[in-house]
Symmetry: C2
Subunit: 236 residues, 2 copies
């Protein structure tokens, strides 16, 4: 895993390809800007997985278009497996997550996302996969921890043709130890237009946020702490 | 990873659930029989991933029905990513694979399959995932090696709610070090009806085999070495 945004292992030879997981939220928009700034030719990858907050896919399209990068949206059936408030309308998203792993956790989601990103990276002969996991603000998600990303790197070191040939895909998680405010500051320096992004778990079809769920609260707090104007569209 | 079929770690408490990856081939039909014999309540999982040899999904349905187990087929988009003779009709399946990783290798396929099996296992609160990888006959596939399965176990130990709660899903690969003949002997003891299975990479829509591709040759050799009558349906 390459968690640093500045270490030499994270610097690409200009023109190397990267697959960047793009949800349409604040974190992944910043991630894409970081990967581009490091010199990668980025291929953005989003998933239609039955998320009830489908406004995030529209946001992902806006972010990719704004950066003029190739963007694929793959439809995957993890929502049909159930087990999460983000994919099952009968499980309400609470205002606050409370103790332990939140009901918004989607079983094995980042494992599935990274597996498919690895597959595309292998086909593209890409050097890296970027994932915008963040351990600080969402410490309840098991698959957002640095040790999870490191374990996926170990798997990628064995899983593919590229690995056997001595050049496994590198898994980059540059946001993993950043606070929300640090992410927003970095993205702002890199010219990210956060008005294109949607973080709310209960966003309406126009992408307007509820202002009350965990994702909204972390986001608003991040803008406030970063001293950056919050461009979020809230419902009246 | 639990590669043994008899070690204590592999013995379930009767009634534990398992997700069993079922391709419709000889190996996974044997795998399902082994998991059932170990006392697991099995949930079979197959993937429609754009494989050109779709007869294997019909075979998977027959195998699951024969064992009277729950069976899900998930449609996943790895075929659309390209890069394999098994998903791209413009890349012919050769009679023999030759040196190195065969063109029938599908990029990161087993990583994706295991990720989705892990997701379903988590939703079901299953104890184990069974995968029928085999390192001996298909040594060219990077994601059929024991070290790959062990790395996925390390990932599963971190990835899920179950893992955080101290009971990560166990990844079982009981066939990994068995020869094809050993697999056939074991399945025959367990009552597997191999006439339901299809191994051929170029099977026609009725499931009849070509007799010439690597998969057909390994299968025929296996029956011959096991001294078991080969029930494969070949094209005239």
């Amino acid at each position: 895993m390459h968690a640093s945004t500045s270490g030499s292992a994270g610097i690409s030879t200009r023109g190397d390809l990267a697959v960047v997981l793009l949800s349409g939220g604040l974190d992944s928009a910043t991630l894409l800007a970081i990967a581009r700034q490091e010199g990668y030719v980025c291929h953005a990858l989003s998933f239609d997985y039955g998320q009830t907050h489908s406004a995030e896919l529209a946001a992902a399209r806006r972010v990719a278009a704004h950066c003029d990068v190739r963007h694929r949206i793959l439809t995957i059936p993890i929502g049909s497996l159930g087990g999460s408030a983000l994919t099952d309308p009968s499980i309400p998203v609470p205002d606050q997550g409370g103790e332990g792993i939140p009901v918004t956790y989607v079983p094995a989601r980042n494992t599935v996302f990274l597996a498919l990103a690895l597959a595309w990276a292998e086909v593209l002969k890409a050097r890296a996969v970027f994932i915008g996991v963040n351990a600080l603000d969402y410490s309840g998600y098991p698959d957002c921890r640095p040790e999870f990303v490191a374990a996926f790197q170990e798997l990628a070191n064995l899983a593919t043709r590229q690995a056997v040939e001595g050049a496994p895909v590198e898994i980059h998680a540059p946001l993993v130890n950043m606070t929300k405010a640090e992410i927003i500051k970095r993205g702002t320096e890199l010219g990210v237009d956060y008005s294109n992004t949607v973080s709310c778990y209960r966003a309406d079809s126009a992408g307007r946020a509820c202002a009350r769920c965990d994702a909204c609260r972390f986001r608003a707090q991040g803008f406030s702490q970063a001293g950056v104007m919050d461009p979020t569209h809230y419902r009246a």
